[in-house]
């Protein structure tokens, strides 16, 4: 035990020396799709401190709003595992539909909306009661999920239908459908609710949607010298709280695009690991962590410097990531 503490202290010290402005320690949870585990990363030492066994094929992962639990969709077990962040083990599960992949929760952290890839539905779950409240029929292979900042609209993207479905959270009825490019995988609102961004993996674009008018107002395209167009497959999106800068994971292009979120132009491409999927900011927005599926690691990006500063080995095929609030 004492040796372990010493190791922590030394690596912690080394990290704080290396980084000019030492950050507060945050905890990141990474789902490893192939290993059936979740890696816990300490953002002070940038090391994996724990590996938690979960169900089969963990992908979508998110902290509860109170920071006490981590929910992880384990698709091949048709459920969502609930990890107690203090005990670092699975303590419960939530009743999703078959093959849950991604989910979103409301601002209060009471209601969870789950995309079930296998049966064209979104499941609504009461997080505290661990009870299913209902299902919403959507398009083929639902995946991306987002709740609007005002909580009134839930977005679901369906991959084979190539749409963003706008669902009224009060009535649970679809109120609008917006066609985007092929295989939409992820949806993200600007904090002020003025724009909805949807990434299309096969289409190779990010659609900018006006959430009030339900129309695509622009598209972000990516081009990287030396890479063929087919290799550019946008997936995860991260946006700073001020809505000025966005980061888009480009899958097998092995890069994160830095986008000026006001002008919608790409300003830089950051080389990360192979097949980059998703990302999460530290709460202070100093760092952005990305999951690199094929290279089995997590890249750490210094947000202000727009530079990759570190790579951390995790389990096999890391997919989702969440950081404690």
């Amino acid at each position: 035990m004492s040796r372990m503490w010493r190791k922590y202290l030394i690596t912690g010290l080394a990290a704080s020396l290396a980084v000019t402005t030492p950050a507060c320690a945050f905890i990141a949870y990474v789902s490893n799709e192939k290993s059936n585990t979740v890696s816990v990363i300490d953002t002070d030492s940038w090391t994996v401190t724990d590996t938690i066994k979960v169900g089969q094929r963990p992908r979508g992962i998110e902290f509860t709003r109170d920071g006490k639990f981590v929910m992880v969709a384990v698709g091949d077990d048709d459920t969502i595992d609930v990890i107690d962040a203090a005990k670092k083990q699975v303590v419960d599960s939530l009743p999703s539909g078959p093959d849950p992949e991604l989910f979103a929760q409301d601002a209060a952290g009471k209601t969870l909306y789950v995309a079930n890839e296998n049966d064209n539905t979104v499941t609504v779950i009461d997080i505290d009661k661990r009870a299913r409240l209902g299902d919403i029929q959507v398009g083929v292979e639902p995946e991306g999920m987002a709740v609007s900042p005002d909580g009134k609209i839930l977005i679901n993207t369906s991959e084979t239908t190539s749409m963003a479905h706008f669902i009224d959270t009060a009535t649970r009825q679809i109120v609008a459908n917006v066609l985007v490019d092929s295989r939409p995988r992820f949806a993200e609102f600007k904090r002020d609710g003025s724009e909805l961004w949807v990434s299309s993996e096969i289409g190779g674009t990010v659609s900018i949607i006006d959430p009030a008018r339900h129309v695509v107002t622009g598209k972000i395209e990516f081009s990287i010298p030396g890479l063929r167009r087919e290799a550019i497959q946008p997936v995860g999106i991260g946006m700073t709280k001020d809505g000025k800068t966005a980061f888009v994971a480009l899958g097998p292009a092995n890069r994160i695009a830095v986008v000026d979120a006001t002008t919608h132009t790409v300003t830089k491409y950051l080389l990360v690991g192979q097949r980059v999927w998703h990302m999460a900011f530290t709460p202070d927005e100093k760092y952005l962590l990305t999951t690199n599926g094929v290279s089995n690691d997590v890249s750490v990006i210094d947000v202000a410097a727009q530079k990759v500063i570190k790579t951390i080995q995790v389990g096999e095929l890391p997919w989702g990531i969440t950081i404690a609030p």
């Binding site: 093959d99 299902d135 029929q137 398009g139 991959e159 239908t161 190539s162 066609l179 092929s182 096969i202």
Partner: protein, 392 residues
């Protein structure tokens, strides 16, 4: 489980009662289901081979269609012995602007010519003949099935990457076996493999199923493959299902088998689970109560291409849809890890090819390092500078 059924019922009701004024799109499906006898009982085609894939795509199109007020249906015609494919196609074209066809090459060309003045389009889901994309190409035929040369190139790239470059080629005695052998010879030349010797396996007739078959085959195959020059892999060209599946584990030398048995290049395999494919596999098994074959996938892709064009153009007009499919904006997602597009010079769908061993997908071609100035998918099959096709 109960909830799944409830969901299906809700969906069914929604799909069957489209709102007034829905765009209605009928897709034809023309095939000649025959009782083809395969060496392996597992490969025996079912009565719904291919058409089941089209049916699933119609369901998928309708799930999307309910949000766009579009309604798709499938008009299936099964040809019997003596039925004329061209006549049947013309009749189908009365209500279907697109007809998915699973027909032999000669019948496909006749049907295409019969449809030319009617503005109907054939979508070739079954025939792999290169001639249909080359000297016999037609401006009203889209090809979703890969060609023999695409399949052979996909296999060759992998074998060359694996450094198995010395091939013993065994060719069946039927015409289509020889066509596949032509494609394999071309692939060997393109990618630097060497065919050390060729042998012909004569089809002398005989039943594919006998009670003491294994004993006999075990004596025949080692003898047939002995005294060959040194080779790395035996390649069998046997589309006729006469001998290829008898070769693995029975060659004189301990060598792997590829081509028509062993490691087989194919557009789809029931074991393929990458790039979201498992969702499609699950939907298919639920609907058809069997696993999805390459022909099913080719038919699914054909019907999805039409659905995709309808969604993007918000039109049911066949000409509008066909123009869109031929245009630069078109691509279709088909669980192959990248968008699939059409080669504009012969309307062949570009696609990655899986290499499957009957249990698993071993690899997917094009292999890394085979480069191309337009699309790496064009390293598979006959490329633009070599084409003999002139679309009118």
């Amino acid at each position: 489980m109960v909830r799944w059924f409830a969901g299906a019922i809700v969906l069914g009701v929604l799909v069957q009662t489209p709102a007034a004024g829905a765009l209605e799109i009928s897709i034809g499906y023309l095939h000649r289901p025959g009782i083809k006898s395969t060496l392996s009982l597992l490969a025996q085609p079912t009565e719904d081979a291919g058409v089941a894939g089209a049916r699933l795509a119609i369901e998928d199109n309708n799930t999307t269609g309910k949000f766009l007020n579009q309604q798709f249906s499938l008009a299936e015609v099964k040809l019997k012995d003596g039925d004329d494919a061209a006549q049947a196609a013309v009749k189908l074209a009365d209500k279907s602007g697109f007809i998915i066809a699973d027909l032999p090459a000669d019948e496909l060309v006749k049907a295409a010519d019969a449809l030319r003045d009617r503005g109907a389009v054939l979508v070739n889901a079954g025939a792999t003949d290169d001639s249909l994309r080359e000297q016999d190409c037609r401006a009203n035929v889209i090809h979703v099935a890969p060609t023999r040369s695409m399949l052979a190139d996909a296999l060759a790239q992998y074998l060359v990457w694996k450094q198995w470059k010395r091939w013993l080629l065994v060719v069946g005695s039927h015409e289509k076996d020889k066509l596949f052998a032509d494609a394999l010879r071309r692939a060997a030349t393109r990618f630097g493999a060497k065919i050390v010797q060729e042998r012909t396996f004569e089809d002398t007739g005989g039943a594919r199923r006998t009670d003491s078959g294994v004993t006999l085959i075990q004596r025949q195959m080692p003898v047939f493959t002995q005294q060959a020059p040194a080779y790395d892999v035996l390649i069998a060209a046997d589309e006729s299902e006469v001998f290829a599946s008898y070769l693995p584990y029975r060659t004189w030398e301990a060598r792997p088998v590829a081509g028509s048995a062993g490691l087989v290049p194919t557009s789809w395999d029931a074991a393929h689970d990458q790039w979201g494919a498992v969702q499609l596999q699950n939907r298919f098994v639920k609907m058809a109560s069997r696993r999805m074959t390459a022909l099913d996938m080719q038919a699914w892709t054909a019907a999805r291409m039409i659905g995709e064009a309808a969604a993007r153009t918000n039109s049911a007009d066949p000409k509008t849809l066909f123009d869109f499919i031929k245009g630069a904006e078109f691509s279709v997602a088909a669980f192959k890890g990248q968008p699939l597009t059409l080669r504009d010079w012969n309307l062949q769908l570009r696609q990655p090819i899986l290499l499957a061993d009957g249990r698993m997908v071993v690899s997917v071609s094009p292999q890394e390092g085979f480069l191309h100035q337009v699309s790496e998918l064009d390293t598979l099959g006959v490329d633009r500078p070599e084409t003999k096709c002139k679309l009118h």
